[in-house]
Each structure stands twice: as structure tokens, then as C-alpha cells.
Amino acid sequence: MLKLDEVTKEFRIGAFGGRSVAAVRNVSFEVVPGEVVSLIGESGSGKSTIGRMILGLNPVTSGTITFDGRPVRGGKQYYRHIQGIFQDPFSSFNPVFKADRVFDLIKESYYPSVPAAEWAGRVAASLRDVRLNPDQVLGKYPHQLSGGQLQRLLIARALLLDIKLLVADEITSMLDASTRIDVLNLLAELKTRGLGVLYITHDLSLGNYLAERTVVLRRGSVVEMGLTDKVFGDPLHPYTRELLSAVPRLNRAWDDATPVETCLYHERGGTGALLEAEPGHLVACARLPAC
């Protein structure tokens, strides 16, 4: 369904774009219907940038992103099928308008001819889908709603359209533990309805909870990707290991014992080919003969 092929993104910075930084380098992966792919990496590794490129909000520098075989272009028709939700629910709503305006915008663009009453019905249904009580959230300003409510409003909004792919960029980082799990559960449910989800996070445990497949990103490049079980169960890349070891766990102390293997291949800048370490598990380098 969604396919990234050797996608690179460079940002021009400085006067007249004198210099450029590569935020994303040669990233390729796929998302198929009914699958959650989680994109993991430290801050600044390019996760959001990939999400934005998929959403057509940033153009790619090179490489291609295709959706159902057609290149991403943004625009009205495209967003009928792909929607995104961002990290910060508060800034996703225009503070001067009522929160339910996000539904009106959808109606204006995509369903101008639907009668108001019918539309209200659809909105209500969609809200109930995300387990919100329409009476509690409609007609209120964003600041009158909690982060979790807003986050779910956004999901409801996306569901009003007949979407096939949802890009969820750190949608839970603002939520506290209990709300967070509600939202995750909701995503998981949607997945079972055939929706593809690209779940962007830096919290490994969340990615693990939800995703079939995981892509680990470092400084714009994929260092490891594959089935979540494999990636988390048997992390091959030292970076993945480091990440995993740094995750605070309730029951286990940080184990400092994990030696950080240096990877000369990597240090030399050879970020080249991802090698298949085992079926369904690709690593940029690791304890592989090529490294």
C-alpha cells in the first residue's frame, strides 16, 4: 500500500539555502493494510520528517514514496485516504475556534453536499467509535478539553474519511499513562479493521506494544528493521541494543553490563545496504561478516 523507496530528505538552511542537512537518508520500507509499523529512534533522527513526507507536507529530496502505486502529491484526493495525527493535540487545534471545527473543515472539502443532520450523525458515530461522548466534547474550545479527548477527536476526524493509512506521530507523548493506553488500544482496534498505521515514537515499549513491524532509525538512516519480535527480542544493531538498555523498566534495573559494540563499518560512514540477518530482520550492520 505505502512504499518508501530510497527516500532522502535534505533541509536547506542558511541564506538562500547555502548549506543542507540530511534529515533522512535512503530510507525504504513498506506499510501494508492492517499493519502497524512503528518508527523508533532518538530525538532528531528524522521520524517526523518521514511522517510529514508521507503526508505530502514536505517534499522529498530524492527517492519515491508511493501510495497504492501512485506517487505522493498531497492535495484533496490524497488526503481522502491518508491522514495524520500529530504529537501535540493542543497545537493541532486552532485555539481561537471551537474544537469541532476540524469536522467542519472535512465536511467543507469532502462532503459539501451531505445534509447537516446526516453529517452530525456521522460525526457522533465517529466520536463514539473513539469512545467519546459527543455531548461532552462538541461545542467546546480546545482548552476546555483534555489532551486525551483532543487526541481522540483527531482520530475521530481521520475516521470520518475513508482512510487506509494513518500516520500517528508521537501521539501519546503528551498523555499520561492511563489515557495513553486507551489511545493505543484504539489504534490497535483500527488495525484490525484493515487500517495501516505508521506509528512514530521514541518510546520503545509503546512501539513494542502495538506494532507488527519496527523500523529503528538513527540520524536519518535505518539501522535495523523487521518484525517487532525479532527486533526487540534479538536486537542485532548495537544502537538498538543501547536504546533498549536505556529504557527504564519497572522490574529490571538498568543493566550497564551490555557492552556497546563498536561497529567499524558504521563509523566509516558506510551506511549502505541493509543486510538481511535473518528472514524478516534487516540490519544496517552488526555482527555480520560484511561488517
Partner: protein, 331 residues
């Protein structure tokens, strides 16, 4: 760093180019004919003599050449420092006319800008978050900054000049004096300079004080101020830091306000018949002396550009953030 200045210089270059072009362009859109008015000024009765004169001046000013040649000649002349010849003060070259006026204008603008900036900032910083002062200093500041320059100038001239007789109301120095480097003469210069300076200074002062007051309130509420306060740092230190940081936008403000200040200076000079560029402009306008008007305009633009550039440099020196930003956004 070089890139930053390169960019600034590009903007200045462009500005100058636009200014010169506008300057050259506008006279060619205006009604009336400068040469005609000159000929009319000279009481020539004989039509033949008038015609001869007209041809003569037209030649002199190049109105008979094709436009593009005139334009290029204009640039060429500019680079030679030749702004043409004044019509009003025929046959003095515009550049020399301007040069005699410039010292007076600079002597007025530079101290009033700098002093009002420094004093205004101090006042504003002092007033911020001190209820009593805030309520007394600020209204005065607002009134000052909202005053039309010339109104204050005329009021001062009348009150301190004509009524109180403390200061002279016109001229750059006493009519009984001859310029020389003696104390009496310098004192006399200062005496004449006081009132125009004061009106410029006061109006600008109000603006800076208010700007600073607002800026510093922002700064006093900022995270680093809170942090310092939480660590028990004395108010003095916090204010000092806030001041330093609040001054930075004020430097930019200075650059933005230069045009306004120059404008104020021009009007003030006119009120006090101070022999600077303002009076020159007024006369150029009254006498339809385009060459002088254009020359003065270009001169002012050039002056403001240079001042802007200096401010840019100062800003870079004072604010580490720009320097770090310019070196490239390495986080």
C-alpha cells in the same frame, strides 16, 4: 559570519539601487519643467535671451539626451561623487552644498539618538515592575513619544527661547560670531544646538523608555530570570541580566527607527532654522531644486544605510546568539 554580512550588504546594495532609481525616475513623472522655472526666475525679458538660457541649462542638466543615457550618466556621475548642480544655489555643486549642512545634522542626530537611546533604556528598565515609577514615568513617556516633533520644537522655541530668553531660536551659531576653534564659539554652537537637540532627544526618549519597559517585563518573566530568582539571586543581578537581554531588541529597534528619527531631525531643523539637511530639503522643495533634493535624499539614504550597517555590526558583537546562529546551526 561572512555570509551574514554578505547578505546584509546585498540588501543595502539593493536598497541603494532602488533609491537611486526612484530618485532618478520621479522627476521625470512630475508636472512642470525645472528649466522653465529657472529661466523664469532670471528676469529675462527678451524672448531670444530666454531661449538661449533655456538651451544652455537644458544642456547643462542633460535633459536633451535619451533617457537611458541620462540614467547611466546619472550613475556615472554618482560614482564620481557628483550629485549635479543646485538650481536654487546655482552654480554650486550639490555635493558641496550638502557637505556644508551635514556636520550640523550629524551633530544633532548622533548625540540625540545615542543619548535618548541610552537614557531612555535606563529609564524604561528602571520603571519596569516598579509600580510607582511605572505610573509616573510611563505617562510622560507616552506623551513625549506621541508628540509631533515640530510641535514640541515650536513649544520649546517659544517657551525657552522667546519667552524665557534662555536660548536662541534660530541658526547654528550667533550671527555675531565667526567660526573658529575658540571656547566662546564652541559654547555658542552648543547654545544654539541645545533646543533642537532637546526636542529630538525628548521625543525619542519617550519611545525608548516605553519600549524598554515592555521588553524588560518580558525578560523579567522569562525562565532564566525565574531560575535565578529561585536560586535566590538578588534582584539587582536579575535586572542586570534582563536589561542586557532586553537591550538587544532595542538595538534592532534603533535600526528600525532610524528613518523616523532622521525625519524628526529634518522637521526640527526646519523649526529652528538650523543650518542642516532639513532646512536644505525644505528650501530645495520650495525652490523646486531637484538636484539638491535628490542629492539630499541619496545622502540621507546612504547615511541611514551606513548607520544600519554599523548597528548590524554592533548587534553581532553584542549578541552571542547571532554569532552562534551564523556559524551554522550546529546543535
Amino acid at each position: 559570519m561572512r555570509r551574514y554580512f554578505g547578505r546584509k550588504l546585498l540588501i543595502y546594495g539593493l536598497t541603494f539601487f532602488v533609491a537611486v532609481t526612484v530618485n532618478w525616475l520621479i522627476p521625470r513623472f512630475m508636472p512642470g519643467d525645472p528649466v522653465a522655472s529657472m529661466v523664469a526666475r532670471a528676469n529675462v525679458t527678451q524672448p531670444a535671451a530666454a531661449e538661449a538660457m533655456r538651451v544652455y541649462y537644458s544642456n547643462l542638466f542633460g535633459f536633451d539626451q535619451p533617457l537611458i543615457t541620462q540614467y547611466l550618466n546619472f550613475w556615472a556621475a554618482l560614482f564620481r561623487g557628483d550629485f549635479g548642480i543646485s538650481i536654487w544655489l546655482f552654480p554650486s555643486p550639490v555635493s558641496s552644498v550638502i557637505m556644508t549642512a551635514v556636520p550640523y545634522t550629524l551633530a544633532l542626530i548622533i548625540p540625540s539618538v545615542l543619548l535618548s537611546w541610552v537614557v531612555g533604556n535606563r529609564f524604561g528598565a528602571y520603571a519596569a515592575r516598579r509600580k510607582l515609577l511605572d505610573n509616573t514615568v510611563l505617562p510622560v513617556g507616552y506623551v513625549l513619544t506621541a508628540m509631533p516633533y515640530m510641535w514640541l520644537a515650536v513649544l520649546l522655541a517659544w517657551a525657552l527661547g522667546v519667552i524665557a530668553g534662555l536660548f536662541p531660536v534660530a541658526g547654528g551659531y550667533s550671527f555675531s560670531m565667526r567660526p573658529n576653534w575658540s571656547w566662546p564659539f564652541l559654547l555658542d554652537l552648543l547654545h544654539h544646538w541645545t533646543l533642537p537637540f532637546l526636542s529630538l532627544f525628548l521625543v525619542a526618549l519617550g519611545g525608548w523608555a516605553i519600549g524598554m519597559r515592555n521588553m524588560i517585563i518580558y525578560e523579567l518573566e522569562s525562565d532564566y530570570s525565574n531560575y535565578l530568582a529561585a536560586l535566590g539571586a538578588p534582584a539587582r543581578l536579575i535586572r542586570r541580566y534582563a536589561f542586557r537581554n532586553a537591550v538587544l531588541p532595542q538595538i534592532t529597534g534603533l535600526a528600525l527607527q532610524l528613518g523616523v528619527i532622521v525625519a524628526g531631525a529634518l522637521v526640527t531643523e526646519i523649526v529652528f532654522a538650523y543650518p542642516g539637511l532639513g532646512s536644505l530639503i525644505l528650501n530645495a522643495i520650495k525652490n523646486k531644486d531637484f538636484f539638491l533634493l535628490q542629492g539630499t535624499f541619496l545622502f540621507i539614504v546612504l547615511g541611514v544605510l551606513i548607520a544600519n550597517f554599523i548597528i548590524d555590526i554592533v548587534y553581532v558583537v553584542v549578541d552571542p546568539r547571532t554569532r552562534a546562529g551564523m556559524a551554522g546551526a550546529q546543535a
